[in-house]
Amino acid sequence: MGSLTFEGLGKSYGEVEVVRDVSLTIAEGEFVSLLGPSGCGKTTILRMVAGLVEPSRGRILIGRDDVTTLPPNKRGLGLVFQSYALFPHMTVFENVAFGLRRRKVAGAELDKRVKEALGMVRLGTFGERYPRQLSGGQQQRVAIARALAPHPRVLLFDEPLSNLDAQLRDEMQIELKRLQRNLGITTLFVTHDQGEALSMSDRVGVMAKGVMQQFAAPEDIYHRPATGFVASFIGKPNRLSGSVAMREGAGGRLAVGGVAIPAARIDQPAGAKVDIVIRQEAVAIRSGIPRPGEVAGEVVLRSFSGARVQYVVRLAEGVEIVAETASHGPEAALAIGAPVGLAIDPAAVFAMPPEGAKP
């Protein structure tokens, strides 16, 4: 076991900087996710930790040991791949035993520890099968057992659930989280799925273009995004462009076309052009004539997705915004063309410099 520390970690391929100056510490037993769109550098960080990619700058420490230049086989890590990467020519038992044999575990002890690892992922009776005889979910569980069996100091996951179907993914999320809690292994989990990152992690690092945008608890990431990127990447955003109409304390009012939208926090001066992000789930819809403080609009599209209903609402001057409501709520069956009032939570409105401008 051990903590995991990055000190000024960076990676460049020629002129392209794919990871820029990342420094953070993952405490012992902590579950941390790296979240970001593809190409943001999160997988490169994971591969640098595993020793599969050599850092261009900075250091990686496990506990107090500097492992920056160690080859992967000397790092004592467990890595679970998106592709599972099982050994197709070995049985499930031999797959799980692989890392133990490398550590000179043999005989009854080997047998015991392989069974123990397979038991943890509820595949106790599958030892004699070959990977190709298992379903995707079972293969992924073998990969997890294989990584766990040698008792690694740190567990690394590279998008381990993205090849599974939605239902299985939810199940595995819970199972993985429980397993990690019980074993108390320091875990670094790389994903592009915000639901996965937010629900499983103690802390989440959101990355874009090689830069760590914010490293904080899931609640902070969601409610208090540090940068415009985090605000627009997390949740289901409405993206609009407008300007700052008025400043008042930390917040003020934004203008989109002729529509005024209150915001709890604005960093730009009055008059500045801004991109605006409004979370769909923070826009409450109510049929009828808008009350004071609500924005008037008209339903142009309704889409039902099970637990929730989304409405596309046209505001004044053609501005469109998506609002959500519970599908069993009173506003779940509004007709196209119905007049509505939108109550927008000012805390869920984020203003940021326009796209293309320097942050």
Binding site: A50, L52, P72, N73, G78, S83, A85, F87, H89, R146
Partner: protein, 276 residues
């Protein structure tokens, strides 16, 4: 789902071509292989005998040629495998920009006609050839070393000619080994050498098998190169075929041995690589 009938219909054209152009001609040789050939007169009508087959197993000369052919097949296959694997590994896993030039280099000899290449080896390996002259002038040897019209000559010539087949097969096989699986072994504690032995090598077994079968079959059935580099006296099975009846019998024996060895080697490989 496709029915069995539809499947059969789809492969019917290929089956017909294979049957019509390979199976039928080979089977047509079967009666001929029991025929009797009289030097000077030719095929004797109505006569038949088992002599063509019995001489293959009983005649010392035939036996020697069969062992020689098989020995040549095994040694050429083995040396091709040993020489090709490092090169194929470099092509498959080395720098991207080297890949195309290296593959072109491997294919390049195949652009030259077989006969021309064999003549090239005669010029190099003859008693008064380039290699012997060079070695004698350097004082390494006093008299020419016999490199032609014997096992050495055939071994060198055939290896050179069939090496590209092995390399190309192995490149495809090694590129098929997933990098993640190798990385997984490394993170589990395997050194680079152990990753190669435990993962890369067994997972490239299908290519090793395919390449070996190809080179082996091509070697034991080669005609032009053994004829030229073996001369009139150093014969292999293919060059021994000269009249219809005994030639047909030899062809059958050759086919039978090739099929038996392919079957055996694929079984062994599958067991080794855990694909059985």
């Amino acid at each position: 789902m496709m029915s069995r009938r539809q499947g059969l219909l789809l492969i019917a054209p290929l089956l017909l071509v294979l049957a019509g152009f390979f199976l039928v001609p080979v089977l047509m040789l079967l009666p001929t292989s029991f025929g009797v050939y009289e030097p000077g007169t030719g095929l004797i009508k109505g006569a038949w005998s088992l002599k063509n087959y019995s001489q293959i197993v009983s005649d010392d000369y035939y036996r020697e040629v069969i062992w020689r052919t098989l020995g040549l097949g095994f040694s050429v296959t083995l040396i091709c495998l040993l020489l090709s694997y490092p090169l194929a590994y470099l092509i498959a896993r080395g720098p991207e920009r080297w890949r195309v030039p290296l593959i072109l280099l491997v294919i390049f000899p195949m652009l030259l006609n077989l006969v021309v290449r064999s003549f090239g080896w005669i010029a190099l390996l003859a008693n008064r050839g380039l290699i012997n002259n060079l070695l004698m002038q350097l004082g390494v040897i006093g008299a020419p070393v016999k490199l032609l019209f014997n096992f050495v000559g055939l071994f060198i010539g055939l290896t050179h000619i069939y090496l590209p087949f092995m390399v190309l097969m192995l490149v495809a096989a090694i590129r098929n080994v997933p990098r993640d699986v190798e990385s997984a072994a490394a993170t589990l504690g395997s050194s680079r050498a152990h990753v190669f032995m435990a993962v890369t090598l067994p997972l490239s077994a299908p290519g090793i098998l395919a390449g070996s079968i190809l080179v082996f079959v091509l070697t034991i059935s080669a005609l032009v190169t053994p004829r030229m580099l073996g001369g009139p006296t150093y014969q292999v099975m293919a060059t021994l075929i000269y009249d219809w009846p005994s030639g047909s019998a030899l062809s059958f024996a050759l086919t039978f041995m090739a099929v038996a060895i392919i079957w055996l080697s694929s079984r062994l490989t599958k067991r080794w690589a855990g694909m059985a």
